[in-house]
Symmetry: C2
């Protein structure tokens, strides 16, 4: 029987799936391939971890569920766009994602570039819409925070560092900075979104920031371990890729056991950052450990 956490994650994933399905309306007009590709890239799977963090952090501050869901959808659109562009032949050149052909394999490369651009732009349309929050200063703050997290000083910059890492040996400090930008920034936004939506005070906000920084890094360390120990079937994409490319990862820098210990240490610390919220933060605390123990 699924744990309470797993049930909550499954419910959140279903809500986000349905919300994206309603947003990306299928069309029969000539530009249909664009919408089909956006739907293909944004629907049908994924853990929806980032929206889950938005929903749970929103729950700490009694944010209206609709507002949290729309914000979670926006961050998921950004995440999905980044996967589409990262998979492109000029980038990671991946054929498989979540066990299915990647967008450029299913459609073509031009459509994949545009589908990514479209999802990225839609994310900001979703946040700026009054349906996301009645207070425009909250909407502006969300747009600002997501743009910083996703842009050249955040996720896109991390992706650039990832390209540089293919031809340069990164040490632990550089690898940490790479991952904090590439995956950490969006995870941080997700955990902080509830605080923005709910007008949280500085102490609560800082607790979520610290939590998010730790789980973001733990998430990436677990990813690196999966790349070494996971099965391609479970992960839904090829494994062993980084090792084959000779790229520095937390596993190559710390060893498998050292990486696992560090991920656990971070998960424990992340959970403790949320002690001030009491039992309301139980799911967020649980997800910190889920991230480390997942097998996909």
């Amino acid at each position: 029987m699924a744990s309470q956490l797993e049930q909550a994650m499954a419910r959140a994933a279903a809500s986000v799936e349905a919300a994206i399905d309603r947003l990306l309306i299928p069309t029969v007009r000539p530009e249909a391939p664009l919408w089909d590709a956006m739907r293909y890239g944004a629907l049908g799977g994924g853990k929806r971890l980032r929206p889950f963090l938005v929903l749970e952090s929103s729950g700490l501050f009694n944010v209206a569920p609709d507002h949290a869901l729309r914000t979670g959808m926006a961050v998921e659109l950004i995440h999905c766009y980044s996967l589409i562009h990262d998979d492109l032949p000029a980038m990671d050149n991946s054929d498989l994602r979540r066990g299915r052909p990647t967008v450029h394999r299913q459609f073509n490369e031009a459509v994949a570039v545009l589908a990514g651009d479209g999802l990225l732009t839609l994310a900001f349309e979703v946040l700026a819409d009054a349906a996301t929050h009645p207070d425009p200063s909250v909407r502006s703050a969300l747009v600002m925070a997501l743009a910083v997290a996703a842009g050249p000083s955040g996720m896109v910059g991390g992706q650039m560092l990832d390209l540089v890492a293919e031809t340069t040996s990164f040490d632990l400090v550089e690898t940490t900075r790479l991952q904090e930008a590439k995956t950490g920034a969006l995870i941080r936004f997700s955990a902080e979104a509830g605080a923005i939506l709910g007008g949280a005070g500085p102490e609560e906000r800082r607790a979520l920031e610290n939590y998010a920084r730790d789980i973001g890094l733990a998430f990436q360390i677990a990813d690196d371990i999966l790349d070494v120990e996971g099965s391609a079937d479970a992960v839904g994409k090829p494994v062993g890729v980084d090792a084959a490319a000779g790229k520095a990862t937390f596993v190559s820098l710390l060893g498998v056991e050292g990486a696992r210990a560090e991920a656990l240490r971070l998960a424990d610390r992340a959970a403790r950052h949320l002690d001030l919220f009491g039992t309301r933060a139980a799911n967020l605390q649980g997800v910190a450990h889920f991230i480390v123990h997942r097998n996909a």
Copy 2:
């Protein structure tokens, strides 16, 4: 001697150039190629027509120059990102833009994808920043309008239609719809931005909308004429491309003379839409004709 309009356009272009230069701070960190590529793609030329429209429409409503400039910069970042992605091998596969190698030729394809993503994301960061307007409802309205104009129902959708048009014969209605999305939507946003920033009334807003729709189409018709009659040196990129691809354009659908007459008709009508603003709209009226008579 340059006309008053040309002087105003040159001043606006210089302001935008300087503002983008200040925004995209060169960096020596490992992700430097990303920032170099964004600077390369966003600086060093272009007519800066869209920011000019933002500045001039803002002038009608006594908008603070700094607010207008930041909004103009945001729309130019979107325009520049779209050029970088459109030039990619999988899209138009262009080697030359404004007389220089395109971003993916100067850097590489992966960096070009990321530079486009970065500029697109930065545009929304610029708009959401309090420096763009003290009223967050204005900032949210700008984000919303730009996202709609640039997204899958606007520019990105138009780019998709452009791909479809390579293998399908489009008639005049379809070609008009393609161009209204691909280039028109961003031009409309630019002309309406002043009304959003200045809190214009519905009549003034409608006048700018009508003006923008007409000059957007006139702009694209003039582009199609340049593709047939222009010189590659002046235009800064290869000409005759659409004709060689057998793609429907306003010239192939209306003939050169028919297209020219239609562009002039639209420019005249566009200028008349602004009569209610009196002489304050002289530059906007002038630019409607400039668009038709330009040689680059």
